[in-house]
Subunit: 171 residues, 2 copies
């Protein structure tokens, strides 16, 4: 499951990793909470909606975009509130959470850490073999994060195995 | 209930508002989550612990310190993750949440928005009629936030009533 976190718009996606670099799209969508609703109710809506996705699709793992430290501080704080709730939803279901920075996602998908939105959407459409760009447009980010994890996961697993082997080899 | 939010240390307090400016202490404590534990597990521990406090003490309202936008960005983001989880716990129990900035709390308690920790602890000890400073030391902040709300709540209620009266008076 890929999550592009946000308080006003939160992108969700589910993909299935196949052989090699094959990734199949399963579902994609957006949780929206209007800015005129108070924070507690917005966070609750996000919590309920992401919980339903997790319970419906039962993902093995959740990949999420790390909060981007630059930019408007108030937006960063709002997004970080949403991340708290999203990470908690995963923790309550014992789902491992992996975080990637925006540039890690861009680099994994397009080979360029500074790829623009149009390039990213076009790459994701091609990678997932979609007949047209994913809708809503923001949802492409959630798919990109999920694909990024599918491609990075084998490397993460190998690194962990190497660590374990090293630890075992120690006197 | 007063909450001084944090990921590593989160201060919790419960007070009972009395007549006029009288406030009685009920309970105070700290939720700690060690930095070497992963974020999902830390947020889950905070969620469980604050939920237990809310279910045990059944407060009417939750007052919380607003995330301070200055300072180390990484600390701000960590605190904002915890705030997301704490606000969600309140929302899930239909408890209203009120946020105060650190200087609002300091001003309400000591009359000085820039009061230092020592002054604040001494004021809180006196206001609550404690025989010694609250322990652990950090918990004084959670008590200060709760007292701040007790003193501000009548004003907030009057302002809301005035708003309603104004709305009703409109053609």
């Amino acid at each position: 499951m890929g999550i592009d976190p946000g308080l006003t718009r939160c992108g969700l996606s589910v993909v299935q990793a196949g052989r090699g670099r094959a990734v199949l799209p399963v579902s994609v969508g957006i949780i929206r909470t209007p800015p005129d609703v108070e924070l507690p109710q917005r966070l609750r809506r996000i919590s309920v909606a992401v919980g339903e996705w997790m319970d419906d699709y039962r993902p093995d793992v959740v990949a999420m975009e790390r909060v981007f430290e630059r930019g408007n501080v108030s937006t960063v704080i709002h997004t970080a509130h949403a991340v708290g709730v999203l990470v908690l939803a995963a923790a309550e279901r014992d789902l491992p959470v992996f975080m990637y920075t925006p540039s890690e996602v861009k680099k994994a998908i397009s080979g360029n850490g500074r790829a623009d939105k149009k390039q990213m959407t076009s790459m994701i459409t091609r990678i997932l073999g979609l007949s047209e760009a994913p809708k809503p447009a923001d949802a492409a980010d959630a798919l990109a994060i999920a694909v990024c994890h599918c491609w990075r996961a084998p490397l993460i697993a190998r690194t962990e195995q190497a660590h374990v082997a090293l630890q075992k080899g120690k006197p």
